[in-house]
């Protein structure tokens, strides 16, 4: 049994609301972890490329804070591991509780907020009780359902970060304001005294149709505008612009300067700041071109094994047919050469880079796969499946075959993987380690679900992709429909 009781003063309440808003930009649920001297709120996005964490210190942030664990009984719900308790709650419900707590109505403004959580194996209900004590004796109380969760943390080694800059969020916001609303990615590099922020959208082609038009906006800022900046020249590092915007927006409300730390592309980047007893850290996966990529991914043998494991699958698939037939084939393919296609500033040249082996349409495919870069899981079969669906033309499958030979020369994600955090709860480790499956691998890889099911999943993703693009031509629809009719 564990119990958590805490109370918040009105200013902290507003802070907490801001934090929740920020977290809601990453995920639908917030993971709550209580320890003896801190409370951590964190969110991991669905593609596992961004992890946001707010650590509230007991002494500063809370009026009172008490957390007790009795270890004798295994908890029935939620989870206690060691001296921690953790659970997850839908952000939507929490936000509705904390919404509009600013002094709107002076008479019944909130005077104090008490939160209480009693985890008892005898109780079947999981409830977090929140009480808002308001003026004139009005007490508003909420009982929120929470659910057990296995909580993952992204681990980031600050000591190994070789690049670092610190800037005022208002300054960063000024930079963001120049970017197009539809831009998806943000590339950062420095060049002779300037730090250049470039927003871009990778071009997506479907045959001859352009599904997403590339947009580039570059803002060069003098390095003197940063409070501190130490970054390698001409090293491009790209992150998701939406995540960056969410961080900057919150840092601005918190009035804290943001520090970014990173080592090199395809390794995580961390944005961090402190305010009023809260320690905010955002670990975000980056993309980019790794220097010295000829070095093999020596530290990581899992992936080669993984692809070997699937090699026995028939390669002599029906090429004129469709992704269904291609399933086993793609599994042994390496991740697409993402490091190349990432180059934002010269969209046309990417194709030259990529197409030494007469693969004309591949750039579009590989750029799609970028979005699935993961903090935890290396690019897996599922994603390559997506790419297969993205382009229906059968000749593309040939192209994939060709790229298979480049296996060892593209170590990007595999290399990054050992840095990644291990899942907090070791019980989740997949049982088939001896097969060489990485511990963080998706269950889908281990279990090998039926192929038909897999195709349906990716088609629906494809459907989502198609609908999200504004100017979809009728031709695209037609080819989409033809793919659908195959199934």
């Amino acid at each position: 049994m564990s119990s958590l009781t805490l109370s918040l003063a009105p200013p902290a309440l507003v802070r907490l609301h801001d934090v929740l808003i920020c977290l809601s930009k990453f995920s639908d649920t917030v993971a709550i972890e209580a320890e003896h001297d801190l409370l951590r709120l964190s969110a991991l996005n669905s593609t596992k490329t961004a992890f946001a964490s707010f650590v509230c210190e007991k002494e500063v942030f809370f009026e009172t804070y008490a957390f007790n664990v009795r270890k004798d009984i295994r908890s029935s719900s939620g989870s206690t591991a060691g001296d921690r308790f953790y659970c997850q709650i839908l952000l939507k419900t929490l936000l509705s509780v904390f919404r509009g707590r600013v002094d709107r109505n002076k008479d019944t403004a909130v005077e104090r907020c008490d939160m209480e959580l009693q985890e008892d194996p005898q109780e079947t209900e999981c409830r977090l009780t929140i009480k808002m004590i308001c003026g004139l004796g009005v007490i508003k109380s909420y009982k929120l359902t929470y659910e057990p969760a296995s909580i993952q943390h992204a681990v980031f080694d600050k000591g190994r970060a070789t690049n670092q800059w610190t800037a005022d969020p208002r300054f960063l916001k000024q930079i963001i304001e120049h970017f197009s609303l539809s831009a998806e990615q943000l590339d950062i590099y420095s060049d002779s005294g300037k730090a250049v922020f470039t927003s871009f959208t990778t071009k997506i082609m479907d045959g001859k149709e352009v599904l997403k038009y590339p947009v580039h906006t570059s803002v060069a800022a003098d390095k003197r505008d940063f409070e501190e900046i130490q970054i390698e020249d001409n090293m491009h590092i790209a992150i998701n612009l939406k995540d960056f915007k969410a961080v900057v927006a919150h840092a601005e409300t918190a009035n804290a300067t943001v520090t970014a730390r990173y080592t090199q592309p395809c390794k995580p980047l961390q944005l961090a700041y402190d305010f009023e007893g809260v320690n905010a850290e955002f670990t975000i996966m980056t993309r980019g071109e790794v220097e010295g990529e000829t070095a093999p991914a020596s530290s990581r043998v899992g992936m080669p094994q993984l692809s070997q494991r699937h090699t026995p699958a028939p390669i002599s698939l029906n090429r004129m047919n469709t992704p269904r037939g291609a399933t086993p084939n793609t599994q042994m393919l390496p991740p697409p050469p993402r490091s190349r296609s990432i180059r934002p500033l010269n969209g046309s040249s990417t194709q030259e880079h990529l197409a030494p082996t007469a693969v004309s349409d591949r750039p579009s495919a590989s750029s799609v796969s970028m979005d699935y870069d993961s903090l935890f899981v290396p690019a897996d079969d599922d994603r390559q499946w997506d790419e297969m669906d993205e382009q229906e033309e059968p000749q593309d499958i040939l192209g994939w075959d060709a790229s298979g030979r480049q296996d060892n020369s593209e170590p990007t994600l595999q290399e990054a993987e050992p840095d990644f955090p291990k899942i907090a709860d070791t019980r989740r480790r997949p049982p088939k380690d001896e097969m060489g499956v990485p511990p963080t691998q998706r269950m889908s890889q281990v279990w090998e679900p039926s192929r038909v099911g897999r195709v349906q999943l990716t088609l629906s993703r494809f459907e989502g992709l198609v609908s999200s693009i504004e100017n979809v031509s009728s031709q695209c629809f037609r080819s989409f429909r033809s793919v659908r009719s195959v199934y």
Partner: protein, 380 residues
């Protein structure tokens, strides 16, 4: 022939404000009485909203009941003791649309009395704001004879809009939800804003049921909770303010209440000797012995939500419950006079503007143990 009823109002805004409170239904039953117009809207026989347009809202109000009595037999189900007054159904949504045809719409209402605690400080009282410019608008309601359409004529600066609404006969027996006035076991009067705030708070967890709990002698004295929501349940409890102990500073408390409540504050102070939530002016809970000392009733939240408009507009609300669990929310609406000078109102109206009442009645959800009691409600 002289029309059966003619009413002229020079503030269509007031009529709109009142009628929009019961705007949850598309049709309303209208009854014309010598004292005013009674609009009633209902839903599923479990929710009823009543808006009474007092004759004092009209600058001229003529009702020729005598000419009518002979031709008014049909379609009357009013077995009340009184004379059979004209009784018909009109489209309420069309009537509301008509009343705001010149754009009196929500200019000042929604934020008017909800956010500003004192209704007198009307934000839209400057000389050139729209309400002031709408001064010379007049609105004439006319019901020529039994079965004739209800005609609404709105004149503004030489432009006259006439709208004739078809009147329908009553369907079946349109009886009110009975509130046993002699068996009221709970009466709570407080600022409507508190109730509105509380309901809005509960609404955020999308509950399906509103539970009301009241007790005279132990905590929680008065609590509203929303249950049935998917992820959470929430409660708003009106308790005694810990900072101002009721015994210690009688003066401080009653002073705050004098500010809040201009009338009826003396009675409020009298009840204050008992334990009562701070926000309430009147708090009387006298449950019958069969119920124990706590009154608990449940209502459909979706129905309560329909009174939200009235909650936002009103000044005060009187929450009453009878022995059978019928809940009555009576809202006192102080209509602010947008026309500061020279409004030739016939009836004696207060300086602040006329005070009107909108009444909502809710049939409770049956509780197992109280099932036998509530069966009677449905029979009536």
């Amino acid at each position: 022939m002289e029309p059966l009823f003619t009413g002229v109002s020079n503030n269509a805004h007031h009529l709109y404000t009142l009628l929009s409170c019961i705007g949850f239904a598309s049709r309303a039953t209208v009854q014309i009485t010598p004292d005013g117009l009674r609009f009633s809207a209902e839903e599923g026989r479990v929710l009823q909203g009543l808006a009474f347009l007092d004759k004092s809202l009209f600058t001229s109000y003529s009702f020729n009941a005598s000419t009518d009595t002979n031709q008014d037999e049909s379609g009357q189900n009013d077995e009340d003791s009184e004379v059979a007054y004209p009784h018909f159904v009109v489209s309420l949504s069309a009537l509301l649309e008509t009343l705001k045809i010149f754009g009196i719409n929500d200019l000042s209402e929604p934020n008017g009395s909800r956010d500003t605690n004192i209704p007198q400080t009307n934000p839209a009282s400057s000389a050139f704001s729209a309400p002031a410019l709408l001064m010379d608008r007049s609105c004439t309601l006319q019901y020529a004879s039994h079965g004739a359409p209800l005609s609404i004529a709105i004149t503004e600066a030489g432009v006259k809009t006439t709208c004739e609404l078809v009147t329908y006969e009553l369907e079946g027996n349109e009886s009110d939800i009975p509130l046993q006035r002699d068996a009221i076991i709970m009466k709570v009067i407080m600022r409507s804003a508190w109730l509105h705030n509380a309901i809005g708070e509960l609404d955020s967890s999308t509950p399906t049921i509103l539970k009301l709990s009241a007790c005279a002698n132990r905590e929680p004295y008065f609590a509203l909770s929303g249950a049935g929501g998917p992820f959470s349940e929430s409660t708003v409890e009106f308790s005694v303010d810990k900072h101002n102990e009721p015994g210690a500073d009688q003066t401080g408390l009653s002073q705050t209440h004098k500010v809040l409540a201009n009338d009826g504050s003396s009675r409020a102070r009298a009840t204050r000797t008992k334990m009562a939530p701070t926000v309430t002016e009147t708090f009387l809970v006298t449950p019958p012995s069969a119920m124990g000392d706590r009154i608990k009733q449940s209502y459909r939240f979706a129905l309560i939500r329909k009174a939200g408009r009235a909650m936002s507009v009103a000044n005060k609300v009187s929450i009453r419950g009878d022995r059978q669990g019928v809940l009555s929310l009576q809202f006192m609406i102080e209509l602010d006079d947008n026309v500061p000078t020279g409004r030739p109102v016939g009836a004696g109206v207060k300086a602040v503007g006329p005070v009107c009442f909108v009444d909502f009645r809710f049939v409770p959800l049956l509780d197992e143990e109280e099932a036998e009691m509530d069966v009677e409600v449905d029979d009536e």
